[in-house]
Amino acid sequence: MHALRFYSTLYRTALKSVAEYRVDFAVGIVTAVAMQLAALAFYWVIFARTPALGGWSPGQVLLLFGFTAMVLGLSEATLNGIWWLPYYILDGQLDRLLTFPVNSLAFVLLSRPELHSFGNFAAGALSVAVAFHSVSAPWYALLLLPLWIVAGAVIYTGVLVLVGALTFRIVGPWVTHLFTVHQLFNTSRYPISIYPRWLHVLVLYVVPFGAAIFVPADYLRGHGSLWQAVLVPPLAALAVAFAAKTAWDAALRGYQSTGS
């Protein structure tokens, strides 16, 4: 209970510090919405040329767009700090953190919420709301939405941590390895059926973004089963979270300070 209160205070403080710059906050929101609109513009270009993509209708693909944006938004709003790890290591901030009586991974993740996340989340929620009308799912399926989005955010962040743990070994002022994960995550915007087999396996089983995005969306369009949609996303999230924590602890054991 005490730990929960501590991390809650830490997160609120971090949020206040980034929200202090109001113009930046507004620009961040507008930017995130612009980026989602950019993605939707490509969607428009595609569906001006074809009635369906990989067997998915425009509304069903919009659902994938919406889920992906909401998962990204939630992860950026809450667990975004991993993107700052290279800089924490370089300027010695991580050394100081390691002397605190806290869980270092939770501290790093909660320390840097990203403002534009709210724009991503809102644009995603709007896309899902619009797309939901075009799928044949019962209304109560929406009750599962929080489960899917939270599971998706845990999976996305978990994979970032897994890859981010390399930062302890390859020290430098870059986040390109994390950027690679982000690009892989963007494959969730389109139906898995358009990708080659190896990519299916990769995004469903190895870095299972698809477990929290394709599986629920497939159920909503009347193809997958309810049990899969209920069980697969949280189980995949738990597995990735466990792997991420294990990788973080292992990487931390071999950590050598930069001496900054």
Partner: protein, 275 residues
């Protein structure tokens, strides 16, 4: 306080070249990071290719371009985009926050030329990476990547140079925003979003729905990717070429001048952060 005397033209050109060369060397220091970024971008771009592949599989007459023409266009668009990734804004945002901008403002070369020299350094390194991309592209798309003729190759190359000026002009405008905002990353991402849609990176404008095409026609972004790609591949007629090149030049010069005007206005109220 005395000011430094303005450099002669020869000194200025020498300083410009040295700055471009040093920027290129700095970029090459982080070869591994750049290679990973390039591979990640290529992967992301493959998603566009796969989407278009599926569109043409379902509808072989999906638009005015054939599947082969589309493939050629997309590979050349990626190549041009790789060449024109300039680090002007990201490099500068960091310097504003750390207070290092004070040094940039007193360089004898002048602020805009310092930025242009560094952008030229970026271009030199990017051109180096573009060669293997073209070779790999040839293995997949073959003759679809060849220039339509010698003249098309020349026009395409001139257009890439002008596209560099347009790209730099947009970046220079964003640099001005970072003087005003605590973090200019928001504007940087907004530019990335607009660039992705309207530059023709994900599809040539001829494939756009008419309303989107009309918006794109009024923006400079298409001259960064689409114009050079179409000229190289001969998808733009020779009669169109002079007009397209003139439009590119006008956008490039206009954007840099607009950035310079804003820069002068911003300098009246800018305070250097202490770092």
């Amino acid at each position: 306080m005395s000011t430094l005397p303005a450099p002669t033209l020869l000194q200025a050109i020498g300083g410009f070249c040295v700055l471009a060369q040093k920027t290129a060397q700095t970029r090459l220091t982080y070869r591994l990071a750049m290679l990973v970024t390039l591979l990640a971008s290529a992967f992301a771009y493959c998603v566009f290719l796969l989407v278009w592949e599926e569109v043409y599989r379902q509808n072989p007459h999906a638009g005015p371009l054939s599947r082969e023409q589309m493939l050629g266009y997309l590979v050349i668009a990626f190549l041009v985009n790789t060449m024109l990734i300039l680090n002007v804004e990201s490099r500068f945002l960091q310097r504003v926050r750390m207070g290092l901008v004070a040094i940039d403002l007193v360089r004898p070369l002048g602020f805009v030329f310092v930025q242009l020299a560094q952008a030229t350094g970026d271009l030199m390194v990017n051109a180096f990476y573009a060669v293997p991309i073209y070779v790999v592209g040839l293995a997949f798309a073959g003759p679809a990547l060849y220039p339509a003729s010698w003249l098309a190759a020349v026009l395409g190359s001139v257009s890439v140079a002008l596209a560099f000026l347009v790209g730099f002009g947009v970046s220079y405008l964003i640099v001005q925003a970072s003087f005003v905002l605590q973090s200019g990353y928001g504007v940087l991402f907004a530019r990335a979003a607009l660039h992705q849609v309207f530059s023709g990176l994900s599809a040539p404008l001829v494939m756009f729905p008419p309303p989107l095409r009309r918006v794109a026609a009024w923006l400079p972004f298409r001259h960064e990717i689409e114009t050079p790609a179409r000229l190289w591949l001969g998808q733009a007629s020779l009669a169109e070429a002079p007009s397209l090149l003139l439009q590119q030049a006008a956008w490039g010069v206009g954007l840099v001048l607009a950035g310079e005007l804003i820069f002068r206005a911003v300098m009246h109220r800018h305070q250097i952060q202490g770092g």
